[in-house]
């Protein structure tokens, strides 16, 4: 049994990746489960999806706590304590990270076999948008040893279902193939389930101030540091700025502060929507890709 966990951001297509891998494995004759975690899915917000591939019927449900393969679509996810993408990983796990950095950069931090490729760059070249679903599906399919023809068939089937046109399907098959050929098949170490032993405890009554879902520390969402959602970073060139306030007023979530008559971007929280770049009448805000 191979358990694959995909970590990404809303809009990158992780659900589609897990489904493409699932379909490709199904077409290859395996037992398969795939499953996305839904609900608070937002463009840019952390999302998780899973695929389990097995020669035997699968006795699993829900979250994969002990993945054999982890695919992380965005290195900034590693900074997100709530998501904690490497949680449950063992020394035998294989971790794929989409990044423009090299493998050594991550090796020590992660402590497992790390494979790094800059898929965002390929996505921008091939698809024109930072959508990674088919690229990551391609990487995953190769890692688990699925034949390329099943991958291609699966990409076609899944994209047709979400209403992609022929041109998009063609481009995405190309992207999947590029992803596929970037990596080598790996030997998956079969380990016992790593699901940790737990202790069942008593839950005491607490006063309603505590035991009701009430928040008394208001406007605390800045603690979430959604700056990790960014793929592109806006940078204000102050020499061009005439303090017109448009970027400040149009910033949807107040990630641009108005200080000493100038806009200041709060990078801990800016999600990188780039409205400020688009609306600046003087083109005084530039874009760089995150990490560059």
């Amino acid at each position: 049994m191979i358990k694959v966990r995909f970590h990404g951001r809303g809009g990158q297509g992780m659900k589609t990746s897990s489904r493409i891998l699932g379909t490709a494995a199904f077409l290859s004759g395996f037992f398969v489960q795939d499953f996305p975690i839904y609900g608070a899915e937002r463009r840019g917000a952390p999302v998780v999806a899973f695929t389990i591939i097995s020669k035997e019927p699968i006795l699993e449900r829900g979250y994969i706590f002990d993945p054999n393969i982890l695919l992380i679509s965005d290195e900034t996810l590693l900074l997100d304590k709530q998501t904690d993408p490497t949680k449950g990983m063992s020394k035998e796990s294989i971790v794929f990270i989409n990044s423009n950095k090299n493998e050594d950069y991550f090796k020590e931090k992660i402590g497992a076999k790390v494979i790094v490729e800059d898929l965002t760059k390929i996505a921008l070249e091939v698809l024109g948008r930072p959508i990674l679903s088919t690229l990551i599906a391609g990487v995953a399919a190769k890692l688990v040893g699925i034949e390329q023809k099943y991958l291609e068939e699966a990409v076609k089937e899944e994209l047709e279902q979400i209403g992609a046109n022929e041109e998009m399907i063609r481009k995405n098959i190309l992207a999947a193939t590029i992803g596929y050929n970037k990596v080598q098949e790996v030997k998956i170490e079969q380990t016992e389930s790593l699901e940790p032993e737990v202790k069942v405890v008593e839950v005491e009554y607490n006063d309603p101030e505590i035991s009701t879902p009430v928040i008394s520390f208001v406007a605390n969402s800045y603690l979430k540091k959604t700056g990790t959602w960014r793929v592109f970073k806006p940078i204000i060139k102050y020499q061009k700025c005439k303090s017109c306030r448009l970027c400040y007023v149009y910033c949807p979530e107040s990630a641009i502060k108005w200080e000493n008559n100038f806009p200041v971007i709060d990078y801990e929280n800016c999600k990188g929507c780039l409205i400020c770049v688009q609306e600046c009448p003087l083109k005084a805000i530039e874009i760089v890709r995150e990490g560059e």
């Binding site: 839950v203 309603p208 035991s211 009701t212 879902p213 008394s216």
Partner: protein, 412 residues
Amino acid sequence: MKKLMTGNEAAAWGARLAEVDYIPNFPITPQTEIIETLSKWIREGEMKAVFRTMDSEHSMLTAAGSASATGARVFTATSSQGLLYAFEMLYNLSGWRVPVVMVNVSRGLSAPITLEPDHNDILSARDSGFLQIHCETAQEILDSILVAYKISEDKRVMLPTIVNFDGFYLSFTREIVDVPKLEDVRKFLPEYKPTHTFFKASKPLAQGTPVLNSSLYSYFRYQVHRAMENALDVYKEVKEEFNKKFGRPIDEVETYMMDDAEYALLMTNSFSTKGKKAVIKMREKKINVGLIKLRLFRPFPTKELMKQTRGLKGLAIIDQNISPGKGGVIYSEVSSELYNYEEKPKVITSFIGGLGGKNISETEFEFAINYTRKVYEERTTLRVPILLFTEEDKKTSKTLIDIAHGGEKNEA
């Protein structure tokens, strides 16, 4: 001061004596007289509260919950279809932990639409996190509302309560009610001083927030259960205080002629009175029978029930409700609670009666007890549930069905 009044008026008196601040409402038979009475008192200046007719029971309960979360003492009332229309908000209010007191006047559920009582409406709210107190008399209605506020507003509980009573049989029936003096009530039930979740400018807070973490969701929802458990202890304290102040016992489980009983009827709400009369008749025939009335339904008074049913040969549960495909709801509740108890009744039987307010006659109660004895004495196989439906009922039904389909044309 003793007065002759309907059950609905007794409910209105409960709200009046509790000096509630807010009454969001929506009319429905057989509850409407409660809100009519309250609106009259407010308009005449006898009560100081906002009376607000909403667009539906769903909105009514939302307004009740949000006003309670703002710190007001809130009363509201509904029945049957109205309760079901508001259903989603029941769970919200218990989750917000707001001490709203709501009356439900029981009425059978549609389809077919009907007016007289049974308890499918109130029992559907079983798992909502509202406390439930079920009443047999008009006096109990008034008393239960005062008790309900006292328990709901206790810091150890902070949950809403439904006070339930039967439509028609209590709602429109006048009987004698002892109305306590306002100053005595004030001593028993002081002004509500919220310490938790209320909206005011000086201290902003977020309430009713989504919880997407499953550990935390388990924690919060389980806290509602913990608060219910506390409510059992709080109920005991409150009933003693109430009895001391007003001289009326309001036990969680009331017993009638149970001292030497070998068999017992178990019932809730107003038909318990009919059951008591049947017990007297059976006693005259030397049948050792008594009656157990479940007044507190949530939290479920398991220990009290164990005590009162200890060593019985047979317990006949009369359910005025039906869960199609299963049977009586109270039967399931009681038997599951007693199952692990060594001194549980030897036999527990299940009868469905009084659906849509259908009468339960003395003979039917006797039938239930005789059947229970037979199962105990002859070890016959138990059939559950048994519908209390008479030859006369069958005849009446047939006559009416014939009219509906033209079968009796010639006779007409």
